[in-house]
Symmetry: C2
Subunit: 315 residues, 2 copies
């Protein structure tokens, strides 16, 4: 076990990500004290009940004396929370976030800057379809990427703050990458935001087919549909905020996706098997690349068949 990177961290927003950071920080000794605050009293009480750390009754108490404050709230709440938080922070401390969008999140954080604290936006490429304090677990960031999008700030102090934050995330088990916010948003638009939008959409389409009952969709979902329902179960507030705050990059991907889909549609309509075969063959190769890169388990069918007991689960 290495030494704690920070003496005290404050986590604002005790949901899936905040709770996971709290658990990981304590499990891997990345900070001596973990203080949490959530705007929602119910969430604070639930966080206390499962012993996530020191639950503060107000923002000021959570933030007081913290060396690092991590905002784990939906992207749309970042601006207001950052503005409230910065004046409460001690000089020289670091303010970071975990928002899934970085361009507008970085702007929201930067708008709160008062020259006393270091502002370093971030985003862990790790999560699940669940939310709330109970959903958090200590291994969430293990072997995951964590992206930092530092602001254009000169000086050694800022560079040092960035490298300290890197150490923190490394201690939670992540591998840290640095890139600019615009690039982050373009990459994540295709690797995360578009897939979620598509998943939400296909579920909606399935609901609205008058010719097929919802019960049938559920019953025969093992044909492929069920795969999409996992990410379609993700938090609606979080995802609303993602799309509202990464509009341009998402619309760009979406336009291309629709064009490509129109081409497949045309191939189906005209019975052009060659185009279908070629596109499907090309798509096949990426799965192997992802498994080889350690970005997914190679277990067939996401390991469902291996986990299956005797009669306790449909395949």
């Amino acid at each position: 076990m290495t030494n704690p990177v920070f003496e005290k961290i404050a986590i604002i927003g005790a949901g899936l990500i905040g709770a996971s950071i709290a658990r990981a920080t304590r499990a891997y000794g990345a900070a001596e004290t973990v203080s949490l605050y959530d705007a929602d009293l119910d969430v604070r009480q639930r966080a206390a009940a499962i012993d996530l750390g020191k639950i503060a009754d107000d923002l000021a108490t959570a933030v007081a004396d913290a060396d690092c404050v991590i905002l784990c709230v939906p992207v749309g709440a970042l601006k207001a929370v950052a503005a409230e938080t910065v004046p409460l922070m001690k000089a020289g401390a670091t303010l970071t976030d975990v928002g899934s969008v970085k361009g507008q999140a970085a702007d929201a954080l930067a708008a709160a800057a008062d020259g006393r604290v270091h502002i370093i936006p971030g985003h862990p490429i790790a999560g699940t379809e669940q939310s709330g304090p109970e959903a958090g677990f200590e291994t969430l960031f293990r072997n995951a990427w964590h992206i930092l999008t530092p602001l254009k700030v000169d000086g050694e102090e800022y560079a040092e703050a960035v490298s300290r934050l890197e150490s923190f995330w490394t201690q939670l088990g992540a591998t840290v990458e640095t890139m600019d916010a615009a690039r982050h948003d373009r990459v994540l638009a295709i690797t995360s935001h578009l897939p979620h939008l598509i998943a939400f959409n296909i579920v909606a389409t399935a609901f609205d087919m008058e010719t097929v009952e919802q019960g049938e969709v559920v019953k025969y979902s093992a044909g492929g549909f069920r795969d999409f329902t996992r990410i379609a179960a993700s938090d609606p507030v979080m995802w609303r905020d993602v799309f509202l705050n990464n509009k341009d990059a998402v619309l760009e991907c979406l336009g291309r996706f629709s064009e490509d889909l129109a081409a497949l549609q045309r191939a189906i309509r005209w019975g052009d098997g060659e185009t279908l075969f070629n596109e499907f063959t090309r798509a096949r190769s990426i799965r192997k690349a992802i498994i080889d890169a350690g970005q997914d388990s190679g277990a067939v069918n996401f390991g469902r068949n291996q986990r299956k007991g005797d009669g306790d689960e449909k395949a």
Copy 2:
């Protein structure tokens, strides 16, 4: 262990599904003898090497004296294979298939009818993203649905043949449902065919983004994209044939999907957070219904985090 349902079955096409039927039949004693034939010499040799059953060198040998012949070839090959197979079958035997489309598959099978054999189209709602004889495993059909779409044939003999085929699939662990072929194709278009098309398409879109490198897509795929790559790794020939043979139902679903997506696109463009929130909230509920119906494991993140070792896999 119950008694064998058939004395001898013949499996034509020794890929994922054929090999799984062979393994399951022997493991659960559903037939005394399992004979296999595949048009591809290489597949026959590989099937022999892993001891899938009696590998025949020609169709006639495989089919001779079989009580039930199961065509496990791509949908596009069914018509030719059925025409070749029926004259080789003994009178009173059953011909069935496992094709993922049923309307045109049923027609292809029915076209081969000569009044001597019982033709009963079928489709197991079970599979994986892999193909070939090595991909087969005996538990594939356990707790899965198997759909039969019997032809409109009167008489007790046909009804008896259907009920015998039901017993066979039940013995492999499946639950059998009977419906008409058109309904099957409408239901599967939304629960299986459209999801696959969407998955193939998003992978193609990701490949073609000039602004994001392929390596980045792979690297940050844990944000959601990786989920889609599993079904996009499925066999291109099989899926080409599915789309060519279930054109109308797929185009109908696809039209609706694109309409719904256009509405979400518009909501993003105009910053209509309420529409996004409402649609996402609605989509969320179906995951629970699917888990409650035993159609997927409730394990968060498809159980990836639980399976994760120390540093051997990225999340």
